[in-house]
Subunit: 342 residues, 2 copies
């Protein structure tokens, strides 16, 4: 129904090769010929069929980004950065939501569907450490934000452990000693939850403090509601604490809300800190102290690694024993929620 290259060729009285040469900016085309072809394209309203081109080229120019959930601000901001970085390299991004489920993540890796795109950037959540081999499919894959998956796959991670350690040390430095933790992780799913908890524990240990397991508020969901619920449960148990570390910002913001409803003041009664530095962290009341990973750097690096694998340049992923993953920078952002007591 719509015009093809052959229609254009016929109309311009040239061959398809010439039309192809014109649309692909091949230099050796006589100006007069080029004009005729362009005129024919215009008259017919010709638009190239990208699917046909992809089949022929063996590349689609699209990559898949698989994240748990777009409505979590961290992932929305990450997706924004990835889309931008991909665009800078001429790629378009197809977004898949896994909901953080291991099954969906595995399905995504195994499915034919991924063949729709040239590569996959996966932000795993449910995958276990034993799932490494599933990643080694020969298909270009870059893992985000995760370190413990033992596989020959490129990793781009943030300093989860160092970041929470730094922010925990900050809480200790302002004199807090009973720091509650809002967040948890499933045993085996050694993702950000696990790694960030380690940073918290390291900081406590370095300060010579014992961890009080009662001060951990396990969560159902990595959302504000999840953080608020966890905080309410902790408050209901009557546990004492003078600071709260949320394993990410939405948890911390949810916890702040619960503290507020409980009549506690932040930071006077309880200091609060998070991780991610989502936009709201700077606008909440009080504004939230947090760890800001360099998302743009993560996105750029992940896209760079992936596109290099796609075109066959770039290093093969090394064995996980030998190669350290790429770790993005972070900075500690101190705001009102850990300010001086009034």
């Amino acid at each position: 129904m719509s015009a093809t290259m052959r229609d254009v060729a016929r109309r311009a009285e040239v061959s398809v090769k010439t039309v192809s040469n014109v649309v692909n900016q091949f230099p050796h085309v006589r100006p007069a010929t080029r004009e005729r072809v362009l005129a024919a394209i215009d008259e017919l309203g010709y638009q190239m069929n990208f699917t046909a081109r992809s089949l022929s080229l063996g590349r689609t120019g699209m990559i898949t980004l698989a994240i748990p959930k777009l409505r979590l601000p961290y992932f929305a901001e990450l997706a924004d950065e990835v889309i931008g970085a991909a665009e800078a390299r001429g790629y378009t991004v197809l977004v898949e939501q896994t909901g953080g489920s291991r099954e969906r993540e595995i399905e995504l890796l195994a499915s034919d569907r991924r063949r729709m795109t040239d590569g996959l950037i996966l932000s795993p959540f449910g995958l276990r450490s034993g799932d490494g081999p599933r990643l080694e499919t020969g298909f270009p894959v870059v893992l985000l934000g995760e370190r413990s998956l033992h596989a020959r796959v490129h990793h781009v991670v943030m300093a989860n452990t160092a970041g929470t350690r730094a922010v925990t040390e900050h809480l200790l430095a302002i004199g807090r000693r009973r720091i509650a933790l809002v967040g948890s992780y499933e045993p085996g799913a050694e993702g950000a939850g696990y790694l960030r908890t380690q940073g918290y524990l390291e900081a406590l240990a370095a300060a010579g403090l014992e961890r009080d397991p009662a001060r951990t508020a396990p969560i159902e969901d990595w959302t504000m509601a999840g953080g608020a619920d966890a905080m309410r449960a902790l408050l209901a148990r009557g546990v004492e604490f003078d600071a709260v570390l949320g394993l990410n910002d939405v948890l911390a913001l949810g916890a702040m809300r619960a503290l507020f409803e409980h009549g506690l003041s932040v930071p006077d009664d309880v200091a609060v800190a998070g991780f991610d530095d989502i936009e709201e962290a700077g606008f909440s009341r009080p504004s939230l102290t947090t760890v800001r990973p360099d998302r743009a750097q993560i996105a750029r690096h992940a896209v760079a690694l992936l596109t290099e694998r796609i075109v066959g340049a770039g290093p093969e992923p090394a064995s996980p024993d030998r190669e350290a993953p790429y770790v993005a920078d972070y900075v500690l952002r101190v705001r009102e929620s850990t300010g001086p007591r009034a």
Copy 2:
């Protein structure tokens, strides 16, 4: 390099047609034959080439969602819903960010690139009312959240005007009379900014109030920072007001932050309301009164219209003069930010 259908056929000693029949669940295949084919697929690690299938079928199974910016929570939540609704119909979603720029939106409509997918859901921001004809390209398009673009294209909109009118009436009902407006729109770009402003004006007029242009705080950006900056500018001008209506939630949240920094209390000194009901609206301090459009309904309807156009079923878009767009439901969510004065 990777196995094709012909390789599988050779190995299973059948024809490609039979392999195709097996992978496409065609019923009339003898069980023994099916087994042989499946075994061959397994042994060769065959994965279907979706690009080839798309070329042959003339459909890709993908749709494009073009929105201004994913990091704006409203659009992230919308994208989440659209991806979910598309998945329910067997489609995958490719996300493009326009940054709200008219040029990018026009480019997206005109570009060959869109031929990578079967249809486009566009949430326009910069397009002007005169740009209607650009939308009528014969390519399946559904417009979101916009009404004023005069074109034979399916529209799915939210009740922008009715919603802001309702929330403004609520502010009037709790006794506020000097309601400032945070938000603005470019002349000609008759989008949500314009339509929502109309609702505000209608409510004022219905209450017999004059609009005081000094109480409008124009914005640079539809972000929290934009809302905060606009609010600060308004405060600096010394304008008096007892309520603030943000044209969306992030503007309202930003404005609340600026009010807080200025030492004003919400809702005692100033009541604040927004539009969208993003997740943070329920967790801010104070929580935010807002209008909640039914995003899931919008997404489902848009995807339904688009996929029906794609398969050629469903109604042709009617002339804009004759057909009312589909308007999604909304509810007013009253929260602390417009609560009773202490």
